[in-house]
Every structure is written in C-alpha cells, then in structure tokens.
C-alpha cells in the first residue's frame, strides 16, 4: 500500500514540475502573439485545463458504468474523484476564460457555444455532487452517483448542439487557429503536466473516499455493508 502511494505521489510531483517548466516557457520563452499580445499567454494553462476537464468527465463516465456493473466501492470512489476534479478544472476554465475574454472581447462573459456549454456542464456535474451529499447509505449513494453521472454525461453533446443552433442566428465568435512552433511545446508540456496532476488528484480523492466510507461503516455497525463491501477497499 505504502509503495503504491509513493508511486502515486510521483505523478503529482512530476506533474507539478512540468507545470512549472511549461508555464515558464509559455510566459517567457514562447513568442508573443501578434494581435492579443501577452494576454494570449493564458492559453498555455487554459487549453490544458479544458482538455483535462473533459477527460475527467469522460473518466467519470467510464467509472460510473463500471460502478453500476460491479458495485465495487473503488469504482464509486474513482467516479466521485473524477467528477470533483472535473468540476474543479471546469470552474478554473471558466475563470481563466473570463480573464482572457475581458481584454480580448471586452466582456467578461459571452453566450458563445463553448462558454455556455462549459457553464451548463459545470452545473450538471455539480448537481451530481449535490445529490451525492444528501444520500446517507453508501451502497445507494454509489448507485445514484453513477446513474446521475451517466444521465449528465449523455446530455453534454445535446447541450453543445442546441447552444450552437441557438447561437446560429447571432454572430459566431472566431478564434485564432494558427499556432507557431514556439507555442506548441509549452502547450504540450502543460497538458501532460495537468494530466499527471489529474491522475494524482483523482487517486488521492478516491483514497479519501474509501477511507471515509470505511469510517462510516465503523461508526455505524448496524449499517454494515452487505457482502462484497470491505474486502475490496
């Protein structure tokens, strides 16, 4: 157990170091963007945050299917870990986006497809966490979290398309697609760095969840989980 934990901490440490290197490159070494100037440099954390946030929700979707399939506490712990880290990255994404949008577009918020979809996604998955916090019984909490995760995840593409149609009558915000070679490396490094940090955070959160669950069962011996509960912890 302790060896596995140390290994997990390596992910966190390497991720943090890479994030420092990538951000340094992005802030000081990468060429300045022609039109937006230094404001554009927030992209070196913004894009990795967006990609990894989506990845977290996708992980959560996979874990939720496994949780419904197998009813093992570890799948539930991983699901909640992935959702929580996803919600965190999603919130960061919106904050970074607003900071970038203010000097670039002149507004903090715009009803752009990606912005609106990200906000709705945040509310959808925060709702799953809220539901979870109200359920006492750990077995039921696991199943309901998984169900709510699946229901929310399926909604994301639908929301994306309908916001796009909804917006189609108005102007569509353009984003610069051309990326110079000096900009690619900080982006790549930061993406991998965040991925490692995500793995570390999800694993830590899942471990915490398993410990909490075990404590709940120790506190209330009358509510011991049925067979298949503890040996997998």
């Amino acid at each position: 157990m302790s060896q596995r934990m140390t290994r997990i901490h390596i992910f966190g440490l390497v991720g943090l170091l890479m994030l420092l290197v990538g951000s340094f490159m992005g802030l000081f070494l990468a060429p300045q963007e022609r039109y937006m100037g230094d404001v554009q440099r927030i992209m070196y954390v913004h894009l990795p945050t967006a990609w990894n946030g989506m990845l977290c929700y996708t992980f959560a979707f996979g874990f939720a299917i496994a949780s419904i399939w197998q009813h093992k506490p570890k799948w539930d712990a991983l699901t909640v870990g992935a959702i929580e880290v996803g919600v965190l990255l999603n919130a960061l994404l919106l904050i970074q986006g607003s900071i970038w949008a203010r000097p670039t577009w002149g507004v903090w918020w715009d009803w752009d497809v990606r912005l609106t979809t990200s906000l709705i996604m945040l509310l959808l998955f925060a709702g799953v966490l809220a539901l979870r916090s109200f359920v006492q019984d750990p077995e039921r909490r696991a199943v309901w979290t998984a169900i709510a995760t699946l229901v929310a995840f399926v909604d994301v593409p639908l929301v994306y398309f309908c916001v796009r149609w909804w917006r189609s009558l108005h102007q569509v915000q353009s984003t610069p697609e051309t990326v110079s070679a000096g900009m690619v490396w900080p982006l790549r490094i930061n993406s991998i760095a965040l991925l490692l940090l995500v793995i570390w955070m999800v694993a830590q959160r899942a471990r915490l969840e398993l410990i909490r669950r075990r404590n709940e069962q120790v506190d209330e011996p009358a509510k011991m989980a049925p067979v298949g509960g503890l040996e997998n912890v």
């Binding site: 799953v128 539901l131 199943v143 998984a146 169900i147 929310a152 399926v154 909604d155 309908c162 149609w165």
Partner: protein
C-alpha cells in the same frame, strides 16, 4: 406484451388517483398561472416586449409547473410507503418506470391547453387553431422529454429530505436542450417562421425524448433496486 399491460396498469392507477384527488393538477395549474403573472411584472406593461417574450415565458411557466408536478408524482408513492408495496408486486421495474413516465407525460401535457390561453390573453398574442395545435404538439414532445429524466430523478430524490431543492437542481441544467428547443419553436409558432426553422427544433426535442426514454428506462431498475 406483458410489460405493456403492466405499464398500462401503472398509468391507470396514477390517472385514477389524480382524478379522485384532483388537488395536484389544480395546484400545479394555479402555480403556472401565478408564474405567468409574475413574469409580466418583471418586464412591465410594455406590450411589444411582452409579446416578444411570450414564448419564453410560457415555456418557463410550463417548466416550473412541471417540476412541481413531477416531484409530487413520487411523493404520493412515499406516503405510507406505497412504493414498497408497488415494488413487492410481480411487476417489472422497467414497466413501472414507463408507466410512471407515461402518466407524468400525460399530466404535463394537460398543462399546455390551460396555460397557453392564459399566456395569450396576458401577453396579447393572437393565435389560430392550427397554431394552437402545433403548439400543443410541440409541448407534447417537450413533456415527454421532461418526464423521462424527471421521473427517474423524482423517484430518487423523493426518498431524500431535500427533494424540493434537489430535483430542480438536477433537472434544470439537464433539460436545457428541451427548454431551448421549446422556447425557440414556440416563439416561432407565435411570431411566424419565415425560414422554416421549426423542423430542426422539433427534431431536437424528439431526439432528447428518445435518448432519455431509453437511457432512463435502463437505469431506473438500478435506482430502486433492493438494498438501495
């Protein structure tokens, strides 16, 4: 075949209960009317603005009343633990879900014929019979889309103490496609549709309903299964 008759038995039970009581439908309808009134206060007596926003207000009033109706649909099952008796019967949980879902859809459908004339009256919009029927058809699709995840979540949250907060919290962000689809299409019906965009919005409403009727039907047995 057996499943259809079981689901139908659930629908009949719900409709009968509704008819005997009638308190749910009346209070939900009154709530809808009050909401429509409140929306007009938010905009002020400007009739041009009100007319432009009529579609959105009508759909929002329907949506808010729907949540009330949905949460009520499983509260009656929790009273005197009726749901446990229902689950003890040799009924397929999937049939139970579709029965409940269908009765909720029928209940929500009933809201439109009452609230639409009220909205037209308040917001000073004219609508012919064809428009009214189109609107009812659109609302039927929206009601089907709302009640699929609504029934699933109502079944889950009805066992919790904070149902009144949780159900809207879970349902509102989820049904944004239904809300957008119905607001857009209802507004097109009310104000005219020169570009014939209504088909794509109808398609969106239909796909939402189909996707969630299948998905939630699969998930419902897990949500209420033994030991949970």
């Amino acid at each position: 075949m057996r499943m259809i008759s079981q689901a139908w038995a659930v629908v009949r039970k719900d409709l009968l209960l509704e008819w005997r009581g009638r308190s749910r439908i009346i209070s939900v309808l009154l709530f809808g009317v009050v909401t429509l009134l409140l929306f007009s206060f938010a905009v002020g007596p400007d009739s041009v603005l009100l007319k432009a926003a009529a579609g959105g207000f009508l759909v929002l009033a329907l949506l808010l009343s729907s949540t009330l109706g949905l949460s009520e649909s499983f509260r009656v099952e929790q009273e005197q633990r009726a749901i446990e008796g229902l689950l003890l019967l040799p009924v397929d949980p999937v049939a139970l879900y579709y029965g409940k879902c269908l009765s909720n859809t029928l209940f929500l459908m009933l809201l439109a014929p009452v609230l639409t004339p009220v909205a037209l009256f308040f917001y000073n919009v004219n609508l012919d019979l064809t428009g009214f029927l189109t609107l009812f058809g659109l609302w039927t699709l929206a009601a089907a889309g709302l009640s699929a995840p609504g029934t699933l979540y109502a079944a889950m949250t009805s066992r919790l103490q904070s149902q009144d907060v949780l159900l809207p919290l879970l349902l509102f962000p989820l049904v944004i496609p239904v809300l957008m689809g119905s607001v857009k299409s209802v507004t097109l019906v009310l104000t005219g549709d020169p570009m014939s965009q209504i088909q794509s919005w109808t398609l969106l409403l239909a796909s939402f309903a189909i996707i969630y009727w299948s998905l939630c039907g699969l998930l419902f047995p897990h949500a209420i299964e033994e030991g949970t």
